[in-house]
Symmetry: C2
Amino acid sequence: MAPHPLSALSLDETNLARDVVKDSYSDVVIQFRQILLHEPPKSQVTAFLDLEHAGKVTDETPRPPRLALATYDVIGGTKFPEYHESIVDLREKKRVGHEVVSSDAHHGSLAIHEFDTLVQVVQASPLFQAKIAELDLPEGFEVVVEPWPYGAPDAADGRMRLFQALIFARDTRSGNPDSNFYAYPLPLIPVMDAHTKEIIRIEELATGGKGDPLTGKTHAAHILGHNAAAEYVPELLPEGTRQDLKPLGVVQPDGPSFSVTDGNLIQWQKWSMRATFNSREGAVLHDIRYDGRSILYRLSMSDMTVPYADARAPFHRKQAFDFGDGGLGHCVNNLALGCDCLGVIKYFDGVLVGSDGTATETKNVICLHEQDNGVGWKHTNWRTGRAVVTRRRELVVQFIITLANYEYAFNFIFDQAAGITVESRATGIVSVVHIDEGKTSDYGNVVSPGVLAQNHQHVFCVRIDPAIDGPKNTLVQEESLPVRLDKRINPNGNFYEIRKTEIATSVGLDVNSAAPHNNRVFKIQNNSKLNPISGRPVGYKLTPPPTQLLLADPNCTQSKRALFARHHLWATKYKDHELYAGGKYTLQSSLEVGGVHDAAARNDDVLDEDVVLWSVFGLTHNPRVEDWPVMPVEIMQLHLTPSDFFTCNPAIDVPSNKDPTSKQVGEVTEAVTCCKL
Amino acid sequence: MAPHPLSALSLDETNLARDVVKDSYSDVVIQFRQILLHEPPKSQVTAFLDLEHAGKVTDETPRPPRLALATYDVIGGTKFPEYHESIVDLREKKRVGHEVVSSDAHHGSLAIHEFDTLVQVVQASPLFQAKIAELDLPEGFEVVVEPWPYGAPDAADGRMRLFQALIFARDTRSGNPDSNFYAYPLPLIPVMDAHTKEIIRIEELATGGKGDPLTGKTHAAHILGHNAAAEYVPELLPEGTRQDLKPLGVVQPDGPSFSVTDGNLIQWQKWSMRATFNSREGAVLHDIRYDGRSILYRLSMSDMTVPYADARAPFHRKQAFDFGDGGLGHCVNNLALGCDCLGVIKYFDGVLVGSDGTATETKNVICLHEQDNGVGWKHTNWRTGRAVVTRRRELVVQFIITLANYEYAFNFIFDQAAGITVESRATGIVSVVHIDEGKTSDYGNVVSPGVLAQNHQHVFCVRIDPAIDGPKNTLVQEESLPVRLDKRINPNGNFYEIRKTEIATSVGLDVNSAAPHNNRVFKIQNNSKLNPISGRPVGYKLTPPPTQLLLADPNCTQSKRALFARHHLWATKYKDHELYAGGKYTLQSSLEVGGVHDAAARNDDVLDEDVVLWSVFGLTHNPRVEDWPVMPVEIMQLHLTPSDFFTCNPAIDVPSNKDPTSKQVGEVTEAVTCCKL
């Protein structure tokens, strides 16, 4: 039987796509970058889903074609590799779309083998070796090459495909391969031409502090003379780990409350959804419903950008697009039982491809589990002393990525009151450069001797494709606004007005300039369905976090290639395959092309239409010493909650059973729960 | 041995205070309101704490006097009761302070016996009975009288001490005393003179909708004809509780990681603090330290206000100060094992007094437990595949209060990375009034037939008395600000500036008008101590949530009696016993007196001084149908995190042990944790 339209590419399908592509060529080498499901048009999927939810799907039900998008280089005919993209129909076993993308327009996403090459080329470079020799590293230190995307090219770079590497030194004397080399940054950034595989230059980094010029060498002869170890693996901690933390476990004697059937259909506490994994976006959730009613068609992390604010060249080129530049497939963590979540866990595997296009399974890239999050709702009737209290149980879909020094955990969290939370946890090791002894800097904070953690921002974009009781929805801006004393309408001064504004045309919106004065929130509603109790359109509330947007000058490249980061919430009209806030091609981009900014600029009508929301939020991260050597999680959350979608609290039927496993310290008293008012 | 200066009044001490007060009078009746610890001057406490933390306290160490504040009415000599306040020295067994507070100036806080009287007087009132008869309640419905504080008096009310009652009807036919009467609001508010114990008037409430006038009767003859049941106790739910939620328990086989000694000294994961309970503020934490270093002298919920926005009189008088009006002592929940938190719980009891001043113990008013909150920090070395991941364990000090229809859970949360979170969870039943069939309103939302949930705000104030490595601290406003392209200082446009402004004079500050553009945060730092790594003053970062401030017209009473709600963060100079943001007397106040607004208006110098911070945040709550009949928790959080206080991540030594109790669904694979980049 054909796979469900909302299932990821299998190993076999991926290999089939590879074969079809390879069979289209002869006498050339094909080097693959990614093979992704090319999702079917929404119209075809929703037709299928309507049948499915009506219980009418049979083996004969027509299914959309299974399509794969393969991206790859063709190496042969011309001097340099050509970047191609093909759409493969897996049923027909043929290419149904094909495009050669000129490097004058875009660069294909980075592939892991390019990073491997970079490391080898840097290490073998006599020029690099000479520069290292000048630094006079202490005995027992070896050089570590950390591959990075190049960021935005400068004018002189032209359209070359470039990679850069940050350089560190590792103290090998402990014999421990996980000794933290980030404590020893070296002031060199070699730059490699990806086509010639040559080091075209080595940037020598300024290492000064306040008052020092933007360029020029100021560091001491023995550059690491003032640096110090900063270990995080437990066996290297000078004082070991703390010994007084007692175990805390989560037990689910009857198993989890969720089920996973049909490969990827998750059902839990009236929720249903399908989960897929792909190497560009990580975990993606589809066809999200509560009690059978449609809420979202698709939910995903769309992209993010991390620009650094050090004014000294070439640090303006430290700007990662962690989803767009190379996809996160090869950065995704294989999660471990008892480490990344507690309780009873269901893991999902993913599919990745190597440079030859061969698919491999990557284990445990998504974990699914339940968690308790405190009191869910409670009321005590003080007249009778009767308390009814429920716990807030949550379902978590988690994936974690490692991007060189840094990690992000992304959690899609569902609760019993029909709320959805998208959570991002930033952790890992902050990006650092060398700073001379005794200096401080306007560009960051000294977090360890000789180590400057540069100021930067993390700006995330979550793509929300709503389907509130159907695909035709409307975004409404809702503000709570003060009203002056007025004997006619506000005689006592306590009235405030709720002003609702329907968003008719695709646009980028802000919660910035007056958030606390207007309490601006957004509702996505279905104007054709009224709540039978309140008479208002059924909807969900979206509360975009009023976090800082991109700080870089709007006229600089760092800003122009991340136009999505200029507004908190974008509303665009749905278009098949328009998934990426920063555009399809972010690697080495100078301008965001085909991203959410362009989509909004179409000025599409989005009133009672298939509107898509893009929520942008982030963290201005001016590092503190406490972020070193591995930073405690910084937690950011985006909330979607039903607003007149249901006819009462959807969690009102959650049982208020006493947990039998809880225990009391000391004298056990007969606990009553009541209010003695 | 004398009690620790940071311990709450014991039962015996409270009764002793009662006796000393009563012995000061003859031939009168003394009716008590509250008996609270009158905390010793900070100078005396810190002198003691310095010795204590140096291990030098002996039985002979001088201790501050134990003082109690008793508030009470003297009934006898004059026509009306007189409100008195006395300070009692418990060692000397005598009054050392005494004041008669005129009702021309302030009203004493409400006492439970006044609410009991109100209910009786309303029910017995022939006028009230006649009004009820007019409403022609259905067979089997009985009247429920819900006592409320009166809010701000109107000019005509003079200085009378008044109480109001909201009126509901309860369907008795189920025989279940917890059938939800809030589903049947009646349009009457009787007002009682507390001294004469007479109903002075009964307000007849408008029940109209959009377009209807602000006053006047519009409701149908059989007023409850269109209302419907809205039950929340499980046995009354029409479809019962959901049956597919499987148990999830928290087990701590070796017990908790915390200890509680000396009555109230909590020690956990390098943290130490003392917890007390009093009937005005609930749980209060004192002398909070991490690894022996002082962070906060005192942390407490100071007050809150809940103004309602319905323009129709007398709804402007729906404005509770849930801490100030009567203290929350009699509203505090006695927490139950296995309900209000999971795991191994330590409960603390409290002391309350009745109208005769006799102290009673109230059990389990604070609970202390640990919780897991996901990944704490993680880093994977992609070269070796080695992942180090720790869990984020938290210690929670929780108390929950019920205020008639509504509940709040307050959590002080401590984490291993030395962060403090103050969390407020709003739940319970939203306050409702009657609305005619088929109408909708600008003043709220119809959440059940005939039931209008009025728009309102919750504005909280947390009092933070910092002691960052000592009492002399400075508040610093820190903003991240854009910088224009400039070849001298910002050649690539990516630089942004961090601007720090020391707050020299007591003041109210906002994060409102430009929060996302300036990323305004605050640091409380000790300028006399520099971090040895970064060279910056040691400090803690405070991130005031950029939530909406009070919306009421600044010239109306609702606004003037809650001046504290006009700014997000107040900085004042410490003054003994200045604890309450809304002032000591909020019951029936017309203006905030002696609150944080007045404290800031002293224009005290707070640079390198004993500065106190008051963080104001809240929720503009425009109810949704999903808030009915009991609302899912709305969670608000305030974060305090170390910022260059330590020399590295304080949680770096947290062990990364695998949890042995976690289980995997389905086929068990050999999970590796690595990044394959």
